[in-house]
Symmetry: D2
């Protein structure tokens, strides 16, 4: 299989061990990802961000082919039993392609808006394991052990059985994984912001294994001072993308609108109001019932989008109004809360005032006012201060490994420095009044 890609140019899956990629792409579960935008509503803010999870999945597998080539160049750093045989490579390629197969439309929002809805990662595992899916059937036809090995890789290499090459599990899902490599580049490219661009060539070349004298399994490290700027660039790319795109105020306001639609629709369903069309998965979730896999897989941007469009004319005025706002991109306004205003009590008080202004304007406050706290933080420090996964080490010229944060002045300065935004999201109708109350500037961003 030869493909063109706007991010990676020429993409090929031609080797024997790579044939699993085109095989899996031809399943309805993978094809469904064509109908799910990678960045949900972000295209309302960055129009170019129309790419799907399908192209991202291909991109992640492409990065995996390159990573595999690099790892094989490092084979003499590995004990024989940790080398990357062809069947392991095939596992990794399949896992990198399937790691997001369980995503639904606006996945995070759906999960947040409807209590009890299962998490998208558990859906990926179900798709891999359920004998009814085309993905599962393809996998077992190749090797009956594949579904479980892939499930293990997707879920971090621990569950249900430890994956024999732990570093491969980290390559599927870790601090430096093929998923992140592709999505940072792709999202930066498509949004046009550029900030997510880092030097993938150099980064792959800088990858090596941490020296391991204690019998613990090999893990990724950065090769000496040469690799430092590459990994710094990678970390900064992620930070910039969070600041500029993922936590962008208008993106977050659009997400608040989507969540309000989901929540209102679920409430109506629970109350017995008939919505037409209503995706079955949404109906079940509203009632707190289990969602069968088939119903879940019917959810995509098309079915959800068709419902949102149709609900513009539904009888419930609040839901109809919300959907119409979405249709003409009349999203909420954000008022940044900083300093005093960001303190919990003061913020709650401001929310309350905004809700009252809503009521006075004839708007349903539950549907229009939200306190949005967006946060991201990264650590580059010692293994002890980290969660489940050890961070990347840097292997110095004398062969010793040091934590990234101990070698990079830049990253040491950014260690555990959060990006945090507290915002009040309100309807455009009451924005000016809210700004006055918050005491912010001319355009209401209320920045210090």
């Amino acid at each position: 299989m030869l493909l063109r890609d706007p991010v990676h140019d020429l993409v090929t899956f031609e080797a024997d061990e790579e044939r699993i990629v085109p095989e899996l792409l031809a399943t309805s579960e993978m094809q469904r990802l064509r109908r799910i935008k990678q960045l949900g509503v972000t295209h309302l803010v960055f129009p170019g961000a129309e790419h799907s999870r399908f192209t991202h999945a291909i991109g992640a597998s492409h990065v995996m082919t390159r990573l595999i080539r690099r790892l094989r160049a490092l084979h003499d750093e590995l004990p024989f039993w940790q080398r990357l045989a062809s069947d392991r490579a095939r596992d990794a390629l399949a896992a990198s392609l399937l790691h997001d197969v369980g995503h639904g439309p606006y996945s995070h929002l759906f999960e947040e808006a409807i209590a009890g809805a299962p998490h998208h990662e558990s859906w990926s595992l179900r798709i891999v394991r359920d004998p009814g899916t085309e993905v599962h059937q393809k996998l077992v036809r190749i090797d009956p052990g594949l579904p479980e090995r892939i499930a293990s890789l997707i879920s971090g290499g621990e569950d249900p059985h430890p994956y024999p090459l732990p570093y491969l599990a980290h390559a599927v899902s870790g601090t430096f994984d093929v998923d992140r490599c592709d999505y940072l580049l792709r999202d930066a490219h498509m949004t046009g912001v550029r900030y997510g661009l880092f030097d993938l060539d150099w980064l792959l070349r800088s990858l090596r294994f941490s020296p391991h004298t204690d019998g613990s399994p090999p893990r990724f490290a950065i090769d000496g001072m040469k690799g430092l700027p590459a990994i710094e660039g990678f970390v900064l790319a992620r930070r910039f993308m969070f600041e500029q795109v993922y936590l962008h105020k208008a993106t977050r306001a659009a997400e608040v609108l989507i969540k309000a639609i989901f929540a209102r629709a679920a409430m109506l369903v629970r109350d017995g109001t008939r919505l037409d069309p209503i995706p079955r998965a949404l109906e079940l979730a509203a009632h707190g019932e289990q969602i069968p896999l088939g119903a879940y897989l019917d959810l995509d941007d098309v079915t959800i989008g068709a419902a949102f469009m149709a609900w513009c004319d539904t009888r419930d005025p609040v839901l109809a109004d919300l959907c119409r706002r979405l249709r003409v991109r009349r999203i909420g306004k954000t008022v940044e809360l900083t300093g005093e205003n960001a303190h919990p009590e003061r913020a709650d008080d401001l929310v309350q005032q905004a809700r009252e202004l809503c009521v006075a304007a004839g708007l349903e406050p539950d549907a229009h006012v939200a306190l949005d706290i967006a946060e991201d933080v990264q650590s580059f420090g010692d293994a002890e201060t980290e969660g489940s996964e050890p961070p990347l080490d840097v292997v110095l010229a004398d062969g010793r490994a040091r934590p990234l944060g101990a070698v990079s002045v830049l990253l040491a300065r950014l260690d555990n420095v959060p990006i945090r935004r507290t915002r009040l999201v309100v309807p455009p109708e009451i924005r000016d009044e809210v700004v006055l109350r918050v005491g912010g500037g001319r355009d209401g961003t209320g920045v210090p």
Copy 2:
């Protein structure tokens, strides 16, 4: 308005005359273009081609802002009454944004599959003129004469009244227009093929007006030998994109599938079979009735896509089968017909044989077999041999203007040299047998 764009990077509409762009973008008719892919089914072949007509429309307007800047630098080549005043610039920007607003999903296929369906260009004019649209209302609020001036620009500067600056009409729709400038770059970028890339900076800089001693209105020309490679690159970019993308065999096969779905659905509707959901515009078109604007505007990738997905379970086995094939991207195979095989009688005979093979395989031949003749041709010659619009001239150092084909050795050699592909599209089930009959090679492309 400041935007990021994957093709043009920074896009701004900030000058007074440019404010019309954000105004129009906030209408439901423009927002609808977010839900219509620029290249229809092409993303099934070039996965990256997921961009919408919305981003293309913004891009075309952006190129117009740059063209306007260039034209103003040429003001002293123009008689006073032909200069580009601010209101004319606004007309041009609005027209470049709206020129494709009437596109439907898979527009050309829809029009071809259902006899009598109105052409997408007439829909653009209706949207601009219909007092019920948000676009029209925005326009008249700015200037009551705007809708008719824009209609004139969109339709080539002739209808209903001649547009006072004919060169501006050519900039909206002509051999070298902002539409083509953006779509070649954008489609090349998104498909990842690169061949559509040309040097827009240099091309704009090379643009000037043809000398006009006879009182005829000024028209675009290329500035001397410096501009020649830029315009050659532009023409070649278009040729490459046709060969590699627009007329790609798999793209064409996917289009055959979409047309078959439309045609089958229309047939069922005419026969009284109930399809659910069935977009109202499709139902009316099937019955040969007029489509109200509102019903037309409800058509987009979401509504059509939702229907296609739902029809996977419809009772008509042929339609259900076609929709399921689309869902897993099981598109037809193409067999290239060349030499003898491309002669009409022989081709018809091969079609007949393929139909019989279909029947034998239990497949409906009308839904699965097609003779696909794709062609594109360009002329760079004298004005006399050309259709409605005169081609670009080159203005030489001595001030004389010559036709492009008389100055460029390269283009002279390509003048009226068509790209032509005759292909038999057949279902995968019978491909091998058809290849044998056609007498082609190992993978059945039958190339000479």
Copy 3:
């Protein structure tokens, strides 16, 4: 004048006020810059870095044309007497072109190696002012006041008379000036490191004037939160380029070699040894005499390079050896000194040991051993903590201006955080032994 440029693509100087650029380019003083590499010996480390100060000067003027366009879009933020009239724009363009015209080959090294050699900036001023130069003659022919106005702009807007538009002096030479904009992009591009790439489009668009209620002259600022990532990217680009290119260990070692050649040649000249050829400026500098402008202008990569090549066969064995090492790129090795080793006494001790090892190896220590301390630091804080020029402010939504370091979390963390490298440069012959003494790692970098 239309040019192509590998960094900026299309470069034009066509407007009336821009005609001064091609005029000045046609002088022998500007043409001389073609024979001086922008990055001196860096191409020995990054082979692509072969670009000259000539292309950089054109690039800086090009950025100035773009900056001028942006500043004019901001005219209503300025009092009438501070607006950018056409003659001021011409001043700025000429100054941006001429700011580096006084550079010699390996300028900094020359100045450091030979005590009393005048600084390259003073040479730029002399070239502008000296009635004998073609540059001066061109300038006075256009406007007799031009040389002094340009001298003022080049020297920071203060000297000899304050330049009437202080912000224009900062655009020629300041924290955010056209010189730096071009050299970061160009050096990053040519070395291939990419890290110097920042978003010039967005940065220019983000530029505005700081609000000035106190009658002080307008100065540059960044426009709100939108401009923040652009200026952060600019600052980081500079930091990365220092770390990866300008202070690269092999670059510094090559510079040590060049300095040793200059110093040895000067010593020989002072001692009465005849070197052939010997550029006159070098001879005079060695004797501590004044260098006439004509002799200075004869210095370039060609005359210096020809001398270095010829000296490979000179009678002094130390000089001949140094020149031969340069010819085959046998540059010194660096041993990084960190922790204890970087303390002055310990470092001096290590230098002494290296010198002794040199002697033992039959090498002249003065010519081969150096302690190289490279440092760069930037501040983004309050005006008070800064030197002559106030740093950029950020203008927030409410119209207030705040220091960059107070708004940007990232830059606050990097404020006054130096890049500092202490290295011992030694000949390859004794490297291994020195590494042992220093106690560093396998390849002797001695990193902690």
Copy 4:
């Protein structure tokens, strides 16, 4: 060895077989290429074109590493004895690096201006074979047979012994060779014209071997229809570069000036005039004597450039004037001769008139007037119509090979279509008068 490159980004020579590259780079003969501009005087027209033959040589070797990787993926298309073993790969890498090592400064001009000067290709062979060169010594230390094998590869695989893998000789020097791949990309990049950009990734992927049933050795071919646009792009890139850069009128005029300087200097030397400095190779060539290798290797841009600069003050007024013109880039003007004017007798007559105008203006006609006929032509046809090397075939789906020109409509149209420019080069002083005589346009280009 890890390098950065402005064209290819990351360049590595790390495998065992690649170690020969850094070994050879460390010789004085390769380092000398740093002092020879790849495009001679072209930087006077395209300022960015300052890159050296050194970076091009690295680039060609880098393309060779990629080509080797591709060829190995095709190993099963090859008989066992034609496969690319590690020592063959090393041969190819060394040859691609050394193929241009014999270039002198302005090589072609030097050869044309001074009758009997040996051709640069024969110098490359001498450098490889001469026991006195560092290159030769490095090679024999690795393998005593290396110099002759490399000589065979450089000279087309025939001489002195046929190279056992003929396709490898074509990869070093052929229609599609690594030299051309790099120089088209690099020259396009550095001049900024972009037209030389083609899709190297896709082109390499499209390469395969022509089917060979007759026992003849395998040769390169293009893989089916997929590779067609890539090879078309490659051919067009070359054509555009010739039209826009290599045969650019100002480049050619600058070359005429260099040739005039060489010719005048040689004449003076022959007449016994003492020039100081005078490179020994130039002196010997002027006298028609043999040039020893050492004297030849002393020629580079530095030694020639130093002479040109010094000769600005030489006693011969004609030579001094020519050198001064070069110093301030006062190159000749070109008058394009087309139609009647290009006929030999008419052209000669115009040359005569220009010479007389020169005399009248007090200028030496031999030094200032030239008839410059630039031509390039390519063939894509049958092997019979071609010279020594068979052109690339296209392997179609059915396994048959067809000539490129028979499959590509575009290339068939350009087959044997020459680029031809006939120009009169005259000093600026007489340009206007010449234009009048030629009967051309306003700026004297005299285009039809």
